[in-house]
Symmetry: C3
Subunit: 375 residues, 3 copies
């Protein structure tokens, strides 16, 4: 069962109402403090705060999001009255609460959806069309995106070791392109590097990749032409290869793929920034496999609250022995597979621990989601 | 025995005089060349050099510290006479020597000090008060800091697996806050994420965390509210959990916790930049455990000279087998525990190997300390 | 056999003609599409594109190379005709093809060449002279470099565990300097840190390091004085120590050292940027050892196409068990040794997967090379 295949056993994404319901059942909403009504008039203050926070030489801040900064309040903390401090806190907290309450926020478009193959004489056939579209990364924020099959990340391809697959790429971009199957040990003609292994695929043209899937694991496909731009804009997707003989540790209840990205679209998980990211859900005692994939330009040390992760695979290859951590550093191009035993009920923050990738003065954003363990 | 507990068996920090004494005994001062008196008049040159080095798009340079740059001397190296080169070298070397001789430099305030619990009916009770203060990161450089109990890093909490602990946070900041116990697998109500697991703790208010310590290892506590700012300003500390049954490899003579940080306070180890960092001291043959913790926004590959490090734990979890290195890459949110056998006498540089985090034209700064192995 | 020792069994670098020959024999040139002649007139367009791409706050882009950016075409993709898109693609592809066809491009100067020792009464003696010179990093791009023996990286020193070695450094720079042997566990007097273990070596002076080589592995030597500048400018090299008793896994056919760097010289492998980088060549079935060394300021996750890498050593120390990957994250100061079984014939891209370190709108550059597996 996996998020990717949307099996009947896994509930669909809760909408805001059902999520509040879940939190209430879990006894969590009782903990949430009411926010002063005056906070609703805080927009102009918020704008000033954001402007004061635009300079950041170190943290890789994204345009439009505030950076960590020394407080530049008109009054220093030392001379503020307690009432002023509390009013200040209420204004800020209202922004934070608003973000949390919106999670998981609806946005237009959902990437990383399983692509069912079309069978042709025993060959699993997939069609990928590269186009330009607008993509909503968080509520109200849309960006230009270059996508496969209208999705960002592109549709998930999921096959078995030894399968024969045929993938037809059609290029409807204003540039040439090509697909590299990152991690698959293919014949060189199928490697997708223009001018080394194939000609570039011109606008309006198609190119067909066909091969027998050689090695299992969590792999990726993405453009390998003008890739610093094309991948940053969204020409990427997961390529999962199930092994012929799964190991015992691979027998899990939830199989989740999390593609990390940064760059022109902001800090995203599967193409969305918090609060539009997707929570991972498990029932108490279930095993959750998470396949981390980094398609960005920066490292992202992903931190799970409340439970540890057992690392089993690197780039689709089993580690000599599983090992445990709660913060896993994922570098560009890497894939790491972990298994979490969901033995601690609650809503658990799950985020990049480069804090400017996860939070601003206005609350959480970017690379933040939750692992929800239901009793 | 540990740096944290300041046992009688470990000497206090040497002052400049006693350190020179140590170096002399170790036969090292004989190696140090005298610096030309003319170097003392080099300040104006130094200022010009620093100004020439302010632009750096790549290295994450901190304000106030020079960046690596191609030499922009008024005369090119090719046309300088040997006498001019030596005069140039003497000027620069005087700055370098001054920094080394100042180490370990006294500054106001010392963080990461062990906090003794107050016992209440078998519960270990700790009080943490969050306030704003000035903090001296290196001699003469003070910054605004947000601190627990006037310390940066906050006081070390050190307990045992299975202990019952109660931690009362009082907020005297101009914002709300909360504490997340990073790495501890707590009941969700104690996880410290405002609007998900608890209300934010408003200015003037308190909040009490109470739990039975679930898992051993090197963990951290820090703010999880507006954290990109609050942690960067200093709301962080070590949370060490001793195991019920220590492994043989954990029987060490010196137990040192090194918290790495970057951001608005500059590059720091335990809240101080070189030469105000603290040397680690061991006698020949002793075993030294170092608990690296990264509370910053960047990776820091820590390099030890003269001896290797044996990596034993990641995020408080034993690695399947210990492994050796001399440079260990520590990402934000990660903790790595290593053991060094102090079998090589001398004063050994120990620093981040992103060189712009450790040295400028004016000498070492930032993330530099020493492991001193005494015969 | 190694790239470093240039054994007779390994062909010299192919020139452009012989490389095209190789590609043709491998059936690859047939795949390469002809480029429209009109592409030759594309220079002015290219310039405009490059100018549009200079702003990049996140990716660490080097001066002179374009950054990933949302397309800023005068016409949006939606309103372009197919003919306009194809013309646009042809212009861009011509740049990409030109770079690939130039590989491996000739440049003046070759670093990392094995330095034969001079034997003196059983001691292996090496002379290293530090000077300033111009260095060609890619065709037509020369930069100021600070070098050992006119090479960048400096000459490779390759000795055996237990050897007695004597290294005489002569300083012809406009600054003082010193050499640290990064990874070697030497007596402290030989550690090369001015004012801690020795006086700085002034311009015009010499200093002799002498020691018995204590530990095997892939190590480095580099300046440890004003190092953020001196190492960035080129004062670095490989120091390989062969073990007394090699492990079975170390019996390889090709032994290649790859020194990664970034900073003022751009993104380089062994001192050169693509297309001036050196391909690694192996015959089908051979085993290739690659010794990665990072002398820069950033991580570089190196990705090999077509085959996996088996990681055997970290910083010269055997990992507890070899493990596999296709993307290996190498942090500043780290060395990682891997073995690749060259079982997949073809020309395989091999590059840093931080894509802005490897490709621009104008094609591949920087940290890109190829592993060529010949049938």
């Amino acid at each position: 069962m996996s998020n990717d295949t949307k099996p009947a056993g896994l509930p669909t994404l809760p909408n805001a109402a059902s999520r509040r319901d879940f939190l209430r059942k879990a006894g969590l909403t009782a903990l949430v403090a009411p926010v002063a009504a005056s906070a609703l008039g805080a927009c102009s203050d918020a704008k000033a705060e954001a402007q004061a926070n635009t300079a950041d030489a170190t943290g890789g801040t994204m345009p439009g999001h505030g950076a960590p900064a020394a407080p530049a309040a008109p009054k220093s903390a030392a001379t503020m009255t307690l009432a002023e401090k509390r009013a200040n806190a209420d204004r800020m907290d209202a922004h934070h609460e608003k973000g949390i309450k919106a999670f998981p926020a609806k946005t237009e478009g959902l990437g990383n959806q399983l692509l069912a193959p079309r069978m042709e004489k025993g060959v699993k056939c997939f069609d990928l069309k590269a186009t330009v579209r607008r993509w909503e990364t968080e509520p109200g924020k849309t960006v230009e995106a270059w996508v496969y099959n209208d999705q960002l990340p592109g549709p998930m391809i999921r096959v078995k070791e030894g399968d024969r697959v045929r993938i037809t790429l059609t290029n409807d971009l204003p540039e040439s392109t090509a697909i590299h199957f990152h991690g698959l040990e293919l014949p060189v003609e199928m490697d997708g590097v223009p001018f080394i292994t194939q000609p570039p695929v011109k606008p309006g043209d198609s190119f067909t990749y066909e091969f027998t899937v050689p090695n299992a694991g969590s792999h990726m496909y993405h453009s390998h032409h003008n890739a610093a731009k094309q991948v940053a804009l969204g020409l990427l997707g997961a390529f999962i290869v199930e092994p012929k003989t799964p190991r015992a540790i691979e027998r899990v209840d939830v199989d989740y793929t999390m593609i990390l990205n940064d760059g022109v679209h902001g800090y995203t998980l599967n193409g969305k920034g918090f609060p539009a990211t997707e929570p991972i859900k498990a029932k108490l005692g279930q095993k959750v496999r998470i396949r981390f994939m980094n398609e960005g330009m920066m490292i992202h040390p992903m931190h799970l609250h409340g439970m540890h992760m057992t690392v089993i695979d690197k780039d689709g290859w089993a580690q000599p022995a599983p090992w445990k951590c709660d913060t896993l550093n994922i570098a560009p191009g890497e894939r790491w597979d972990v298994v979490v035993t969901a033995n601690n009920p609650g809503v658990w923050a799950f985020h990049c621990h480069i804090l400017p990738h996860a939070e601003t003065e206005h609350g959480m954003f970017g690379m933040v989601t939750a692992l929800i363990v239901e009793k």
